[in-house]
């Protein structure tokens, strides 16, 4: 389209510039020097009447709109409340809460069971440990007793200054032969004669 009278559609959305030849920065021409721009003439009575009519119309319209808006909001709120606070819903809620309380009670019982079992386990373990300790102590004491007795036994054969002479005489009188031979099969042969 463009400034072609035949083919330019009347409803073109693009605004045609009204300035024509000059830009906004060019000064107005000399023929317009005495031009006095006046606002359009207004009839005061007509203006008053028209303004009053417009005021009333807008008042009524906005009141109607507010009324409808409030009505719709009220309806929505009532609907929501009805959906929420109906009797069956409350019943349902109470039932579910009761079920939840039961579940909690069950959990409580399970927890107590567990705690009790834990306690028993602990006691049993403590007893076991105590027993083991006692047994260990006993075994230790026994060992020590045995050692003491053994030592007492050996003490009989000790060489003291008193029987030193006697023991020496004894050893000299009974010479012991420590020589032996061994073959590859591990048999010991004590045939060498002490000289």
């Amino acid at each position: 389209p463009g400034p072609f009278p035949g083919l330019c559609p009347g409803w073109s959305p693009r605004a045609v510039p009204a300035r024509g030849r000059k830009t906004r920065h060019d000064p107005p021409s000399k023929s317009k020097a005495s031009r006095v721009k006046l606002p359009p003439p207004v009839d005061p009575e007509e203006l008053l009447v028209v303004l009053e009519r417009y005021r009333q119309h807008r008042l009524v319209l906005s009141a109607l709109r507010a009324e409808f808006r409030a009505e719709v909001l009220q309806q929505k709120r009532e609907e929501r409340l009805a959906a929420q606070g109906s009797v069956e819903e409350q019943e349902e809620h109470r039932r579910l809460m009761a079920w939840n309380d039961e579940e909690n009670a069950r959990q409580q019982r399970r927890r107590e069971e567990r705690a009790r079992k834990e306690e028993e386990e602990q006691k049993r373990r403590k007893l076991e440990i105590a027993e083991k300790q006692a047994r260990k102590m006993e075994a230790f004491l026994e060992e020590k007793e045995k050692e003491v007795l053994q030592l007492q036994e050996e003490a009989k054969n000790f060489i003291t200054p008193e029987n030193l002479e006697a023991r020496i005489e004894e050893c000299l009188d009974n010479p012991r032969n420590y020589n032996f031979a061994i073959d590859k099969d591990g048999r010991i042969v004590k045939r060498t004669v002490l000289s």
Partner: protein, 171 residues
Amino acid sequence: MPMKGRFPVRRTLQYLSQGDVVFKSSVKVMTVNYNTAGELSEGARKFVFFNVPQIQYKNPWVQIMLFRNMTPSPFLRFYLDNGEQVLVDVEDKTNKEITEHVKKILGKSKEMLEREERERKKLSHPATFGPKKYHLRECICEIEGQVPCPAFVPLPKEMRGKYKPAVKNEA
């Protein structure tokens, strides 16, 4: 690096939308008290790690708070708008059991969700067209059975504005 965290699948939309716990409108706050160590708190930990993001995604207006190592045993507490508090003991439960329990006592039932879905669908008509925000299709040329968009398929000559007066002038 595209993936962040230990189980990045928790951040995908598909995973989040698979959460099926939608709270009733009376639930406002959910509080989870759990411990970071201990065998009995394992289910609660898994619940917090895997299921709480799903719940928050489905209930963006519910405040969820997590408290760690404050109590010896783990539990959930829900605060409803009428001041009621619902306590749920979750010691020694798996995270699946916890979600089932919560869904049963405070979740919207399937029929309710379907009903709401239907209500929402009623508000908009699928056959209308307009801005993408409110309608499925933007222009009448996108609707099947209508004249296709002249940007892709040129209109036949008789329908174009150029040829009508030309034909009239010829005649």
